[in-house]
């Protein structure tokens, strides 16, 4: 361990702090790779059925609530920007700013979930939850229902990731406020940022695939 008191602690298996940071960063990127494959299978399912039943998917897509989806896109993009500033604050050891920015990020994440919740409940009342009560005014209701299977599944798994992110970011904010865990040790915040941007990017792909098929007509 280094003699500098401010230096980050190095775990016993590592020789240097640099090695530790590089290992952690690589681990996070690999984790994101596994997440891409995890979502990838669902995107593949979407692609197969959208190519197979383009009309049904376009019709079903027009039933989605774009006001909610559009607002949420903005909310998540802003939260990602704030997260980027939080990473910078951690790097510059501005603890107060870091706590504030992390709390803003997690609040925006929570806002996303609240809006999504209202959207879900409105969709349930419009009989858009697949199952016995599913009803849709479409030429091919079976494959319109398939669209909504995939919609609920992908947005549900995404919302789960947002929830995990909100919890983690809040914990980080509390730790940053009450301890000096991140002083001169910004790797963890950096990696949390990577995760949050990943969650954001998944939504950037989901939004047009779900809400924007054939909106122009």
């Amino acid at each position: 361990m280094s003699s500098l008191a401010t230096e980050a602690p190095v775990a016993h298996q590592f020789e240097t702090a640099d090695q530790q940071r590089e290992a952690a960063t690589m681990g996070m990127w690999l984790f994101i790779a596994t997440e891409i494959l995890f979502f990838g299978a669902m995107f593949l399912g979407y692609t197969v059925y959208r190519l197979g039943y383009p009309q049904a998917f376009a019709e079903a897509s027009r039933h989605t609530l774009i006001a909610f989806g559009g607002t949420n896109t903005a909310v998540l993009l802003i939260s990602s920007t704030v997260m980027a500033f939080a990473v910078r604050a951690a790097r510059e050891n501005r603890r107060g700013l870091l706590v504030t920015l992390l709390l803003v990020t997690s609040s925006l994440g929570a806002l996303f979930l609240v809006i999504k919740g209202f959207e879900y409940s409105k969709e349930i009342s419009e009989h858009l939850l697949p199952g016995r009560s599913f009803q849709i005014d479409a030429a091919d209701p079976a494959h319109a229902e398939m669209f909504f299977y995939i919609y609920w599944l992908t947005t549900g798994v995404h919302a789960l990731h947002v929830t995990i992110g909100v919890v983690l970011i809040t914990i980080f904010a509390i730790r940053a406020w009450f301890t000096d865990a991140f002083v001169n040790h910004d790797t963890a915040v950096d990696l949390l940022g990577l995760y949050w941007h990943f969650v954001d990017i998944v939504w950037v792909f989901l939004f047009p695939l779900i809400y924007l098929i054939d909106r122009h007509s």
């Binding site: 298996q13 995890f38 299978a41």
Partner: protein, 552 residues
């Protein structure tokens, strides 16, 4: 390889540094350990348990197949037995076998590190594995699953009875343990290598574990989501794979095999790594064409992702897709053959000795070759239509999985046993059981090639009377095989207490793991080794003289 810091292998750990086994005696010190060597032992104990559970199911199946009638178990029970056998052997024995036991133990030792990059994650992956195993055992005890290990929809999602969801949950959770292990190894190999340990000085075992880890990390998430979708379909009627709800069951097969074909390479590449370590040691020669074996390893990993469709030749998949998948499947045989030829070339004019690990390795090379060549039969579209879902397929993949991977696992366990435990196993008994396993294996599975070619379908508990002779031979072989598997369990346990003490390098082998004490201390090395040479620097004359005086 010889290192600058430790020219002469030390006989014991200097001073009072205890070995990793003596570093703590309580159960707690084992269950909360983050030492990669102890985690390897935890895995070894758990997968041995699963191996014998899966083996028990196979025993019952072989007993049932003694006669053409269904006189021991009902068809439903038989379906549950082969599902149990498949699930347990694939996910709870073969996939974790060499990576998590020998990989966990050896990766840091071979690259000169104190531990893996993320020791806590390493322990967490064992817990995930065990929780997954508990779910699988729960579903077995409470009634079993009869879908086969492939969980094809819509049978698994709609019609099957039994605890499909519990079983899928178990595989899902254990899968995340696999992902964590793979991620850990990749980062460890990239970032934790000792000074001088360049990529082309890495032992080939590390190359194979690295490639296996890439497959684990990239393929397992797809299995996780696929099984989730299947379980959601079963529980809530989410009809992604259900034709009655507008879904496509073929999509399930594509997604399942996108994982499960690469998983076949998870189940053979580490075995190839063990063979590449052992052959130079017992031939006292440098491995022939080191770089090409390394490239071939990566090539197998890459090709492995592109051939899943060869499981679906008769599934109504497009014929053009079938042709492409057929060609790509043939292509896998090239890197595989490179390996076999290089191993054989290493033996050429080597100073070969036939200790137990070498017997397993020679068995591996022969059986893997048969398994691989019969794979080419199956990759040919027209032949596959004839033998698809017959015992020919069963025999083919058991030659790879059992004749290949299990032989390599046992060879590796015997080879590194002195390093892991600090004790030597009884050589004569071990040779006897290696030969028993080889003979029993061939008697069990060779008749199945013929059975399959003659048209006996897999997964039935009754069969036409003309198949009985070959089935009796197969069951007789299985009973010999069982003896062969119980023997090592007995004498290896015996050797823990009564085996002779091993010095730091009983095989006079190269490799950093042999430069430290047997068993190693918690931190592996007294000082971080510095590597100055490529691996497998065996000198035939000098080492032969050394072996004469050695006790093995």
């Amino acid at each position: 390889m010889i290192t600058a810091t430790t020219q002469a292998a030390p006989q014991s750990v200097k001073g009072d540094v205890p070995t990793y086994l003596a570093a703590g005696k309580t159960i707690r010190s084992w269950l909360l350990t983050t030492d990669h060597k102890r985690i390897a032992i935890l895995y070894m104990v758990s997968i041995t348990l699963f191996f014998f559970i899966g083996g028990a199911a196979a025993t019952l199946m072989r007993l049932e197949l003694l006669t053409p009638q269904g006189d021991l178990v009902t068809s439903e029970t038989y379906n549950k037995l082969f599902t149990l056998h498949g699930v347990v052997m694939v996910w709870f024995f073969l996939i974790p076998s060499i990576p998590t036991v020998l990989g966990n133990f050896l990766v840091p030792l071979m690259i000169g590190a104190r531990d893996v990059a993320f020791p806590k994650l390493n322990l967490a992956s064992w817990y995930l594995f065990m929780i997954g195993g508990a779910f699988a055992l729960f579903s077995i005890i409470t009634g079993g699953v009869d879908t086969g290990w492939t969980f094809y929809t819509p049978y698994s999602s709609t019609y099957a009875n039994g605890h499909v969801i519990a079983m899928a949950t178990g595989i899902f959770i254990a899968g995340f343990g696999s992902i964590a292990t793979g991620l850990n190894f990749i980062v460890t190999v990239h970032k934790m290598r000792a000074p001088g340990m360049t990529w082309f000085r890495l032992p080939l075992f590390i190359w194979t574990i690295y490639t296996t880890s890439l497959i684990l990390v990239l393929a397992t998430p797809v299995l996780a989501i696929t099984l989730t979708l299947m379980a959601l379909e079963r529980a809530f009627g989410v009809g992604i794979f259900n034709p009655a709800l507008g879904g496509d069951p073929l999509l399930f097969q594509h997604l399942f095999w996108f994982y499960s074909h690469p998983a076949v390479y998870i189940m053979i590449l580490p075995g190839m790594g063990v063979v590449s370590e052992l052959i130079p040691c017992f031939a006292r020669k440098s491995l022939f064409g080191y770089k090409y074996v390394a490239y071939a390893t990566v090539a197998i990993g890459v090709f492995g992702f592109l051939v899943w469709g060869h499981h679906m030749f008769v599934s109504s998949q497009s014929i053009y897709a079938g042709m492409i998948f057929s060609v790509l499947s043939f292509a896998v045989s090239i890197p595989s053959a490179i390996k076999v030829f290089n191993w054989t070339a290493t033996l050429y004019k080597g100073s070969i000795s036939f200790q137990t690990p070498m017997l397993y390795v020679l068995g591996f090379v022969g059986l893997f070759t048969i398994g691989g060549l019969t794979g080419l039969f199956l990759a040919a579209l027209a032949v596959d239509v004839h033998v698809h879902d017959t015992y020919f397929v069963i025999a083919h993949f058991h030659y790879i999985m059992v004749g290949g991977m299990v032989m390599a696992y046992l060879g590796g366990i015997h080879f590194w046993w002195p390093k892991i435990t600090g004790r030597l196993y009884p050589e004569t008994l071990a040779k006897l059981s290696a030969v028993t396993i080889f003979l029993g294996f061939n008697l069990t599975f060779f008749p199945q090639f013929i059975l399959g070619y003659l048209g006996m379908p897999r997964r039935y508990h009754v069969y036409a009377p003309e198949f009985q002779v070959l089935n009796v031979l197969s069951t007789a072989g299985a009973s010999i095989l069982a003896v062969g598997y119980v023997l090592p369990l007995a004498y290896l346990l015996w050797s823990l207490r009564y085996g002779r003490k091993a010095d730091s390098n009983p095989w006079r082998a190269t490799g950093l793991e042999w430069t430290t004490s047997s068993p190693p201390s918690k931190d592996n090395f007294e000082a971080t080794p510095i590597v100055t040479e490529p691996p497998y620097r065996y000198d035939p004359q000098a080492t032969e003289a050394a072996l004469e005086t050695a006790h093995v």
